[in-house]
Symmetry: C2
Subunit: 611 residues, 2 copies
């Protein structure tokens, strides 16, 4: 049976050694005033979260996969054994309230710590973690744009975890393309709306963990314009609350079925049928897409964390197996047994180091973004807020796509270390692979993330956000180009960052050439995101290596933790970063080779499609 241990040492390294979180959070009055910026407190919270997650959440991971969720004929859904008890303990211990607004019962802790806790939960049991995860998304959207009346009624329940939340976007014919949704809203004339339609793929859409479920639903108000500009956001509770917050009459939303899927079996993926269900408008009419993006950005970072958490747990278990499994003899021998532990074989080490390198860089990125979110929301200086917000906007698609792609690949390589045993359910590795796969698909496929990055975040503002980040990298490179330890990395990084700029120019120029320009962006986007991801990870690895080397030089490396950082950095630049060489070539190749003859290559007639 697989196990999970929260990577506390590395989390604290990133927070304190790399990001200087103590000082940074200390500059934010909100946390200072709430007494939630203190480093010792943050560390205590992390330690306590680790204890909870390791003992209460991780042991439910395999049972969740095996049992899945079961729907009865009335549309009620039973979660796997132990899920409810663990959820109740989680709420009772206040984890759902961690970074929530104290006005509504939250603890007002920084995102920095809640995102670290989120990584732990998702590494221990991603299917279970999605229940509170989605509630948090609903909380964020409602908190940002809900009326005081809605907020006062719903937020305390979401914060305490008594009620959970969902986001209802997808319809059978409309996934990526939310502009064509058909769920409709009719004004009841009493401040409420009647919501009718079918939503699919609703994670945590129906379950037995909470007494009520708060659906945030995209629908088209009658008379609204076509496309994304005619979509509004509605709150549709499963039970309509009474004014005192108790649960009242059942609303017209029913779980029509659950999907049978590749993984995350412990999370109920529901088809929800809304039949004149009573809903309340959240935010402004026809601004639903904008409001939903508040949830989606959080959800995207949260999805990235799934890649991180699953990569981490897969790596941990592969590492344990590699030390334990004796197979083939290495020269010189390292064991007195008939064979040596497979960790001695270089190719196994390559796979392990790949896991470690991607996971630790991913953690650095996630926590950097978390701290930037804190800064964006709470820094007294507007320029600082904007700068942090721009960074979050730019790097969120990378956090989502690059982290889930790497997480999946790390899970696959970690499974590979187990040989045939990796394919067998009881070892748990194949579940990590199946669970990791969804992160690349939902909350906007990774292809859509790439379009968001290149089209919206980079090109739409003429490259301003990119240039700002490039400036940061440039500064770092200039400071360290002669460094005896990291100079070589900085050199590689500098060249790649420069090339990222020129690749951006090339695609950007093509992008301006009419409709074909959009095709060029579309053709380059996925490779571009991966290239960009390596530049970001390269920057973080170079910085981590520098910080670690300073600790070593100061005689502070008692347990070899910092030595490991410097060696994994070296591995990253030698074995993973060179992927940029291939990506540069494929980006430069452009979209021309994709414009193949439809009929000859795909047996597809455009004429038929347009007929």
């Amino acid at each position: 049976m697989p196990s999970y241990k929260a990577p506390l040492r590395d989390m604290k390294f990133v927070m304190q050694d790399l990001l200087g979180a103590g000082e940074q959070l200390g500059a934010l009055p909100f946390y200072r005033d709430n007494d939630t910026a203190d480093t010792d407190l943050l560390n205590q919270v992390l330690d306590e979260a680790a204890r909870f997650v390791e003992t209460e959440v991780a042991p439910l991971n395999q049972v969740g996969d095996r049992e899945g969720c079961v729907r009865d004929e009335h549309g009620n859904v039973k979660t796997p054994s132990g899920f409810k008890a663990a959820y109740q303990k989680y709420c009772a211990a206040g984890w759902t309230a961690l970074d929530a607004d104290p006005t509504y019962g939250g603890q007002g802790m920084p995102h920095l710590v809640s995102i670290a806790v989120n990584e732990m939960v998702t590494g221990a049991n991603v299917a279970w973690g999605m229940y509170p995860g989605l509630s948090h998304g609903a909380y964020s959207a409602l908190h940002a744009v809900g009326t005081d009346e809605l907020k006062n009624l719903y937020l305390p329940k979401l914060v305490s975890g008594e009620w959970s939340g969902t986001m209802c976007l997808t319809e059978p014919h409309a996934g990526t393309d939310l502009g064509i949704i058909r769920t409709k809203a009719t004004d009841n004339g009493d401040g409420t709306y009647a919501i009718t339609g079918t939503k699919i793929f609703i994670s945590a859409g129906e379950h037995d963990l909470t007494e009520n479920i708060v659906h945030l639903v995209l629908a088209r108000l009658e008379g609204s314009p076509k496309g994304t500009k005619g979509i509004s956001l509605f709150l549709v509770p499963k039970f309509i609350p009474n004014a005192d917050g108790s649960v009242g009459e059942r609303n017209g939303v029913v779980c029509g079925s659950l999907e049978h899927k590749m993984g995350i079996h412990g999370n109920a993926t529901a088809v929800l049928n809304f039949d004149g269900a009573r809903g309340w408008l959240v935010g402004e009419v026809n601004k639903g897409m904008n409001h939903m993006f508040i949830m989606m950005n959080a959800a995207r970072l949260g999805t990235g964390l799934q890649g991180l958490g699953l990569g981490e747990v897969a790596y941990q278990n592969a590492l344990a197996y590699a030390k334990d499994r004796l197979q083939m003899r290495h020269e010189p021998r390292v064991s007195g047994e008939e064979a040596d532990p497979i960790i001695i074989h270089p190719d196994v080490r390559r796979m392990l180091l790949t896991g470690k390198a991607y996971t630790e860089a991913g953690r650095a990125l996630a926590l950097w973004l978390a701290l930037s979110l804190d800064t964006e929301q709470h820094h007294p200086d507007e320029a600082k807020r904007k700068e942090a917000g721009d960074l979050v906007a730019l790097l969120t698609p990378i956090a989502k796509a690059f982290m889930t792609d790497n997480g999946f690949n790390v899970a696959v390589q970690s499974q590979q270390i187990f040989g045939g045993h990796g394919y067998i359910a009881e070892w748990g590795m194949e579940q990590f692979v199946r669970d990791a796969r969804i992160g690349q698909i939902y909350e906007g496929t990774n292809g859509i993330q790439a379009l968001d990055l290149l089209g919206r975040k980079v090109l739409m503002d003429g490259g301003k956000k990119l240039q700002k980040l490039a400036g940061t990298l440039q500064e770092f490179a200039e400071e360290n180009e002669g460094d005896e330890h990291i100079g070589e990395y900085v050199n590689q990084l500098g060249k790649a960052a420069q090339q990222l700029g020129s690749l951006t120019m090339v695609v950007g120029q093509k992008a301006m050439q009419g409709p074909e320009g959009a095709d060029e962006v579309n053709a380059a986007a996925v490779d571009y995101l991966r290239y960009f991801g390596h530049v970001v990870y390269g920057y973080l690895w170079a910085r981590m290596a520098k910080v670690a080397q300073d600790k070593i030089d100061a005689g502070q490396d008692k347990d070899g933790f910092y030595l490991a950082k410097t060696q994994v950095a070296r591995f990253y630049f030698a074995k993973l970063f060179p992927e940029t060489k291939a990506l540069a070539a494929t980006i430069k190749a452009g979209g021309e080779t994709l414009a193949v003859d439809d009929q000859a290559v795909f047996g597809w007639e455009r004429a038929l499609a347009t007929a």
Copy 2:
């Protein structure tokens, strides 16, 4: 529900247009004499196989996954609904006898056609196809080294499919490392041996398709030397046959349990307990590993075909979905609907073309090897036989590893095209991914294939086999370097082939430097195999493009098939082949960055391991 259509047009293109199979087979007396070299006949066989596979085998793929195999308390195993009926029809139609020796009831058809049929079966239903597939492996080993008595008793039953076969290698503590197996054989003094031990991961190890199962078992004869040099191969039937070929008493081998696994649910993966089971020696004492390799080489090419078949079927279904699914609007619009078919979006085309490019090159490689197998076994000229055998030996690890890695990646990308629907079981895409995953693991993990390629096939003979192939490529490159259509590809290919040579030299020189040399080979092997794979696929794509262009120039491209070949070739060199740039860098980086501090990085004490 997914569908499968045998890629007949492409198979015939590769056989006739690319490989000139008619002429090549015509030069082999065995096929000439058996009247099995005729192109029209081969085409008829392919057409008939396609019909059978599409209508009888493919429809059982999802039911096989859903139901799996079920073992009762007595150790009997029931295969999924429909598996037995389809198997019986398959045998009755003579498919199990296709390329078998006419002496034992076989049809004496070339490997060229049987391997094409094998691709169809595996694309339609890999779990089902493994039953006859493993029988074929057992047939090959027994045919090669069995006594006449054993051959006369067993081969007709294996050829007719009345009995099936298995290969029993792995034990709980011994997977890759067969030298440490513990299953023992004791001489009964009557020409038989008593076999005792536990074998795991035995595909098709127990089932209800046939009246008898013929296990080929690796075991150590009492008194034999340690390691691989003390292992012999034994035939252990489930029921001991009577002299007339009827089934006699039950032998002492029982299925102890079935594994619950990620995929290939329709194939029974058995734990087999041998308790003094009666066995017969196959081949020579202590030569079991050599004999088993006869099966394993066939099994490795067969496993490569799984990657090919699963890539093909995943691609086919993704293509159909991409034409059908309307999502987002493209400029210019290609549909009168509210959204356009996603096949118009360049990134979707990129994923589709990736599938097509890898699959078609894989098919060319598989059939090239198949024809080389035919030549190796039946060419009258010994030098030709040796040359063909060397090519098969060199390229088999590439066929196994590169084809299964690509097959898995193509399945994953094809699943990605479905968005959220790809994660849902009913669409069938997630099954392709789960089923494809095992090909990278079994029959020697892909890491082991890479060691086989670089260590044994390339370096052990001082690069002679490699040089021979390089000569072929060189010749092709010189002939075509100025070609207006393929000159550019040939140019890229030539540079890469040259670099492959120099990378081989670099690793080869390091390999000779004592124990660390072995580590250098181990460190480079996986990247080396992938680089080599691209050189082979590049060669095949350039050749296919040339053949296709000639057809176009001759006005013979009625349906655009040849145009498609030229365009996919262009895509391959623009978007996939550049991976070699990254691989060259990571190979050159060597093993140094893997030699990290064990304690600091992995928390592993060598001292403890050696204590």
